[in-house]
Subunit: 199 residues, 2 copies
């Protein structure tokens, strides 16, 4: 009976267990602090101006984070697929209105950890403090590398690197979103693809 409670988010539990040890009791407690949320393609978890209340784990599907820039066009800053966390940490830490949108690119199942209740949860299951330390360190490490790649390569090289490293991922997003993430116009991406067809 007790494990029926977390068959709703097997990836989530498995991911936690990869980094920390949890008793069935821990999982029991945890399950009272998290919710699973199903969202349809194009639905929002967060919109500009709101204070970001949750930390979101992608159990299934695909999310994106973006903002609307000065010219009124969407600028994507991150994607999150299975087993990734996504949130506007500045907004939730500072309790300030977010500049970002969090939206489903595909129908998605998301595990929601309420930022407010997080402290309380950490007290009851202290290993989670460690788990999130590891997740944040990992995310920060990835972003240190991203800054490097961003400077290092031309937009064209950047595009080709990305397609090479994440081909499965490129299949799942429309090209204009890839262009936005890479910081180029769809027109220029189209030109690059013509110049160097990628199978």
């Amino acid at each position: 009976m007790s494990h029926k409670q977390y068959t709703m988010y097997p990836n989530f539990i498995q991911h936690l267990k990869k980094h920390i040890s949890l008793t069935d009791d821990d999982i029991q407690v945890l399950s009272t602090y998290v919710k699973i949320k199903s969202i349809k393609k194009k639905e929002f978890l967060l919109e500009e101006g709101q204070i970001c209340k949750g930390n979101y784990f992608v159990e299934a599907g695909l999310l994106r984070m973006f903002y609307i820039n000065g010219k009124g066009t969407e600028q994507i800053t991150q994607f999150a697929l299975e087993n990734w966390w996504l949130s506007d940490y500045m907004s939730s830490m500072m309790q300030s209105p977010s500049k970002f949108y969090l939206q489903a690119v595909e129908d998605a199942e998301v595990v929601v950890v309420d930022h407010q209740k997080q402290e309380e949860l950490f007290k009851k299951v202290p290993q989670l403090e460690r788990y999130f330390r590891i997740m944040m360190q990992r995310a920060y490490a990835a972003s240190q590398m991203r800054v490097k790649y961003f400077h290092d390569y031309s937009k064209e090289e950047n595009y080709r690197q990305f397609v090479l490293l994440f081909p499965q991922f490129v299949q799942r997003i429309p090209q204009y979103m890839l262009a936005s993430y890479l910081g180029i116009t769809p027109e220029y991406l189209s030109e690059l693809r013509k110049k160097h067809p990628i199978t």
Copy 2:
């Protein structure tokens, strides 16, 4: 007598205490796990090809992180001044050779936490897990915002924003380093400064 041991790094201890509570015993234990290191301007804490062994807290002075790009020129990715942590987290997590250099821009006092011994330290002073979770979350939040600013503003706007937000900081670094950090050539920065003199 016991607090003589940490008058060597008052900022460090104060910073820890701002986020977690520590007994004198905790501090005693901690002090056996960290070292203070004085480095002169232009000395390195890490060079390309080495595995990053430490996590560095700037007690005093100013550090920079950079790499050598394809054209053979330095690209600065981060500065760290008093009360900031600096490390190549990817290199230390993956135990892979770093692509980066960590170097003193000014003479500096640095508190070194050995990445290898960190796990052991966390077992003895568990609150530190929380402290570093907060530090990593904060660093990651800042980098989420940085990606936004980077896309959002032209290089010129970026420069002016930076000078406006961190004037004291701009005073402490040579202009070619600011140019490198902003991802522009020193020549272009010079042109921008001529166009819009900032008192």
